[in-house]
Amino acid sequence: MIRPFFYRLASVAGMAFCLSLPAMASAGNSHTGDASNPPVIVQKNVVAATPTNGFSSELERGAYLAKAGDCIACHRGNSVTAPPYAGGYAIASPMGSIVSPNISPSKTAGIGNYSEQEFSRAIRKGIRKDGAYLYPAMPYTAYAGLNDKDIHALYVYFMQGVAPVDEKPQAVTKLSFPFNIRLLMSGWNLLFLHDKPFKNNPKVSDEINRGHYLVDTLAHCSTCHSPRNFFMAESSRRYLTGAAVGGWYAPNITPDETEGIGSWSEEEIARYLKTGHVNGKAQAAGSMAEAIEYSLRFLSDADLRAMAAYLKTVAPQNLTGAKQSRFSFETRTPVHMVDIEPVTSRTAAAMSDSGSVDGQLLYENACASCHGRNGEGTADHFYPSLNHNSATGGLVADNLIMTILNGIERKTNDGIAGMPAYSDELNDSQIAAIANYVLTRFGNKAIAPISAQQVADFRANKSDPALLMKMMPWLLSGAGFVFVVIIILGYFRIKGLFHRRRSN
């Protein structure tokens, strides 16, 4: 699970005060438990199929843009009955929970007193009306590219199209030191916030420009799909080449033929963003399933096509030297009934013993009812094939393990897809055994074997941010040392000044 940016650890210890929150990394995971309860959104005649330039009012366009920005995913309340944008949803992070604020136009509890300029500053620069810095759980580094027109439409929508909720979330953001010092974000912003509005590239089509704008701003794809450096800022050099997101893995979506999605047609990419699956290639889970459920599926076909067209123009990158596309693995050896349904003991003890770590036996009884004995899924792909599947053929088994542990519930324009969670029913060794059986038979066997400890880490959601946290005392002591040195140097400098004065 160690990502390359940790190798740079030694050179950056003194800069600990610039550390930002790796909140984004865990935000996705914390969403997953709630996907079955999509919030009710104040709909002001939003028609998903309407092209973006065909809106009858700024308010309507703003509502559409708010959908595209997936604002509701974080600014929802904690219950299904909570009104839209009431806030209170806790985004778990290793430093503590970041509680989303009320962004309804309430003058007492929300953003009703924001001027358009203040609204714009919050969205594009990450600074609240009162001047406090937001944490980048709010993807303002992406929203920074939004144009003034869209900011205006969003402002109109949030002020006029959302019902004011005069109640602040009860919970408040409480982070551990030093992350609780919001001012630290100013340093981080200096380094990592490039707050220039998006500019059209005159050399490419309007469609590609439109797609580029959506991908980089509202849809904030790179928030998850670009790896981050040590300070948890996105790496522009490795744009969209894949990254871990709170246990899940957001894979390479550059058009590289082997490591990326070069084998996908534009139509397939657009369909995936709308329905959450492309049969024989991939299906969305975790935070991607949420992004589709709450946001992407509401975009117009033209916008989804534009995003797909743009993604096909991104620089293809194969950073790992992958030799086989993750969509191309498959089994070639069907199993025989006699091997998988052996005569077994009918004693009560044997019939109660659920300790087996035989991957084939576990797969056959826990998985094959839906995914098929040979991983073929169902003919209509209602239950996906595990052959030709991104979750089993990828460079890491993160999504396979997370899916077995946590299941899937994904509501899209194509119905609701569901897989039960197996975290209660199977222990770490058993999930590892199933993962290894699946990888070996249907997927990328090069990444097997998965160990029980790896599964335990996913179960405990010990991903990168936890590692960063482990480094924190050391980083802080390093920073403290630098601080002391600065004070000592400063002391001598002041003393020197006095000395010079006296000598004058």
């Binding site: 009560a348 003890a349 019939m351 109660s352 659920s354 576990l362 056959e364 009812s369 839906c370 039960p420």
Partner: protein, 528 residues
């Protein structure tokens, strides 16, 4: 006095677990005692797949000497004219592991049988009392169904009345039901769809949508069908403590006629004692009265273990003159409900015909092999006959009679040294009186489908719906519990079992049991 828990629930079936979950959710400390083990679904699925006895619904479930199921040799002895032998399981989740998930509400008239039709007993509570709890029970277990049908079969609209629609719509009517309705509807038969505790077209509470494995009995391999293990997990996550291999054998009386403690025996034969403010016995319709009788509690009425009822049944199988393709979807798809209610209940039992929807290859093949058909012809005939197979089974209303009774066996003991069960049951005359009506229906139905009758039985069958054994009523002299399911003798003792049901109707009583259990939890939560 320090208690081990606010509430101890004895039995981790669907009823006990729903009560336990509701109480734990409200912050009460709860201990659940379960005689059997906790076994994951994949293991039961393995046990089913490797079972040589596929039509024995208890066979995939371990039959431990210390937690015997009803099919354990000699566990249930019958002394009456009818062998009452329900498929009872002992493991976390209980017998709903193989219940087929028909989640019916009773009719208002079922609960006023005596006042309306002059037979049997009235419930001490009304349909209106229970209606909100029916809604909660349907939400708890995820029922799909049609809210727009007259389930009473009396030509009404949307009956019984509902304050909320089913949590999920039905997944549609399959081809077989449509064809049978086309042909039999003309003869006056009224069809309704079975409400079913399984998600349709969408996941529900972490369970996937039904995909038609058609294996509800003996195990849903994907955990779509509701079973009590769901709420065992929910209860534990809400803070309840679940003790397995803990067979309760004695309720101990304390001061003020209260139950003070439960004694249980673990698989090693060691005895333990736990105390609580309140006790819920949810140990199955037979095991609950057994525990009360062994403990000599709650029986001032002398009605504990008496009045046992079932929905005694008959069945017919025939080969229709056209392919109908039984087996698409759940094993229980539709019913004919003309006789579910009506003035005839003054004279003879209500009844309901279930149109079975199992994949019939097994009985079809068995029959053909018995006829000496083999080879290519066998394959062809299996295809031909399985497509045309119709299996109708009927459930009859029964009435409570004190002589129909379950007791701890006077001499026989199980491996834990606890008494096994002795049952005396005779099918009531009221039920017998309806037999010919139903047999006449069978012949009309078979003729309506131009069917060739394969098998028609006039032998009464078990339907595993245990009622009456700890009967509910208004009068402490003739009832074990009141309308709250609270013991008349012990203020802090509640019985969460379909055994409280005083008028049987003709539908699976599980949903009603769950509704009563949620209601018990609400009552206790206000007091503890």
């Amino acid at each position: 006095m320090e208690y081990d828990a606010d509430v101890i629930v004895i039995g981790s079936g669907a009823l006990g677990n729903n009560a336990a979950y509701e109480l734990a959710k409200q912050g009460k400390s709860v201990i659940i005692l379960e005689a059997g083990k906790s076994i994951p679904r994949w293991k039961i699925t393995e046990n089913f797949r490797t079972s040589p006895r596929k039509n024995n619904y208890n066979d995939p479930y371990p039959n431990a000497a210390t937690a015997p199921t009803s099919f354990a040799k000699d566990y249930i002895e019958n002394t009456g004219s009818f062998a009452y032998l329900p498929g009872m399981l002992k493991l976390v989740g209980g017998t709903t592991w193989h219940w087929a998930a028909c989640a019916w509400r009773y009719l208002p008239s079922d609960m006023k049988l005596k006042s309306l039709y002059g037979v049997g007993r009235d419930w001490p509570i009304s349909y209106d009392d229970l209606e909100p709890y029916y809604c909660r029970a349907e939400e708890a277990i995820g029922v799909s169904g049609r809210s727009d049908e007259d389930q009473s079969g009396q030509g009404k609209k949307n009956f019984p009345p509902r304050s909320k629609d089913y949590p999920m719509p039905s997944d549609g009517i399959n081809y077989m039901t449509n064809r049978m309705h086309d042909r039999l509807g003309k003869l006056g038969y009224r069809f309704v769809q079975e409400p079913s505790a399984r998600p349709t077209n969408q996941p529900y509470d972490g369970r996937p949508a039904c995909s038609g494995n058609n294996n509800c009995m003996p195990v849903c391999p994907i955990g779509s069908m509701y079973s009590g293990d769901v709420h065992a997990r929910h209860a534990v996550k809400a803070g309840a403590k679940l003790l397995t291999e803990a067979t309760a054998f004695k309720l101990e009386k304390g001061s003020g006629n209260k139950i003070e403690a439960v004694h249980y025996r673990n698989a090693n034969g060691e005895d333990k004692k736990l105390t609580a403010r309140y006790f819920i016995v949810a140990a199955h319709g037979f095991e609950t009265p057994k525990l009360l009788l062994m403990s000599d509690v709650a029986n001032s009425s002398d009605q504990v273990g008496r009045n046992i009822m079932d929905h005694n049944g008959l069945a017919i199988q025939f080969l229709a003159d056209e392919p109908l393709w039984s087996g698409r979807g759940t094993v229980e798809e539709a019913c004919i409900v003309n006789m579910r209610d009506g003035q005839h209940r003054r004279r003879y039992a209500a009844s309901k015909h279930n149109i079975g929807n199992s994949v019939p290859n097994m009985p079809v093949a068995q029959r053909l092999i018995a006829q000496g058909i083999f080879g290519k012809e066998l394959d062809e005939r299996i295809r031909h006959d399985a497509a045309r197979w119709v299996d109708i089974s009927s459930m009859f209303e029964t009435l409570p009679s004190p002589s129909n009774r379950v007791i701890p066996h006077p001499t026989k003991k199980d491996a834990l040294g606890l008494p096994t069960l002795s049952i005396h049951y005779d099918v009531p005359a009221y039920t017998e009186a309806a037999k010919d009506i139903v047999l006449r229906d069978y012949r009309r139905i078979a003729a309506g489908m131009k069917g060739e009758i394969v098998n028609e039985t006039s032998e009464w069958q078990n339907h595993d719906h245990i009622m009456g054994s700890v009967i509910m009523g208004k009068n402490p002299a003739d009832s074990v519990v009141n309308g709250e399911c609270r013991s008349f003798d012990h203020h802090n003792l509640f019985l969460a079992t379909t055994g409280v049901i005083p008028a049987a109707g003709v539908v699976n009583p599980t949903l009603t049991g769950i509704a009563l259990s949620i209601r018990i939890a609400d009552i206790i939560a206000r007091e503890v």
